[in-house]
Symmetry: C2
Subunit: 140 residues, 2 copies
DNA sequence: CTAATTTCTCTAGCGACTGGAGGAGCAAGC
DNA sequence: GCTTGCTCCTCCAGTCGCTAGAGAAATTAG
């Protein structure tokens, strides 16, 4: 039950000190209580909450989503449909990004394959970049 | 050979007006000549250059890379090894991102599959987020 | 008691734009 | 010639999720 300082919280949750202050400012962490000397103090609850945040961030959830997930996590009796929806949206977002990156990959791969290592004059990479019409890429 | 205004350049290259001014400020486009009334004027060369930039951006190249590519494109006699290197680096970067996103995807997919649509109390999604040890994810 | 470490607040910077305020230029219709 | 409406100008602020620095104060170790 002994309170810990921000540096200790940082170590226990693997989140940098300025990031913790940033999360507090953004409302993901409650405003920490302070010592006489104005230093933030934390407890086990904060460690858990911050680890939750870190993990969700590692999985790519945005701050807003995490805020919602934290709110929901505090209401254990409610059905978890909203939690599910957030995760599902995030999954769709990731799928989207993977698809777009895969498209880019193909196009760059092709450019590289066509480059004959000659002079820039006849370099396919430069040509393709210069002329949008020459490539696979479409999206408007 | 008639000069065009920034709005027309914007339409012809499919790049928004403020973005054109931004590119000028960042040195990707030369400082445009001006009319008596201080408005920027452009020509066909600028349209080509801006399209090159747009296409490279769509492919995910960073501004710095594009600056280098533009410099190289202006020296057609030089070997295209550097162009190749930039594209290769970018490909590696994309591969990296795809790999990481694929990892995230798997983990979120798993969470979703395990969620039994009950109450938040027993929701696997919340559990996994709360306890880092429970998941596939490792990286530090 | 001193020195080293930690913490505090405040501010600015990253990348690549995007959008708004407030004002001036310009073409066309009356 | 004048008004209307569009385009353009500059400058500034905001986005996202941090990260880093300055300069000062509190705490801890030796």
């Amino acid at each position: 039950m002994k309170p810990i300082a921000i540096g200790e919280l940082s170590r226990q949750a693997s989140v940098k000190v300025p990031t913790i202050r940033f999360y507090e400012e953004r409302g993901l962490l409650p405003r920490a209580s302070r010592t006489e000397g104005n230093r933030r103090t934390y407890g086990a609850v904060d460690v858990r909450r911050l680890r939750f945040i870190r993990h969700a961030r590692e999985l790519g959830f945005e701050i807003e989503d995490i805020r919602a997930l934290l709110d929901l996590a505090e209401q254990p009796e409610r059905p978890c449909g909203e939690v599910d929806a957030i995760a599902r949206r995030h999954l769709a977002d990731i799928d989207d990004r993977i698809a777009r990156l895969t498209g880019l990959r193909a196009e760059i791969r092709l450019m590289l394959d066509q480059c004959s290592q000659g002079r820039i004059q006849e370099c396919r990479i430069v040509e393709v970049l210069a002329d949008h019409g020459e490539c696979l890429h479409e999206e408007h």
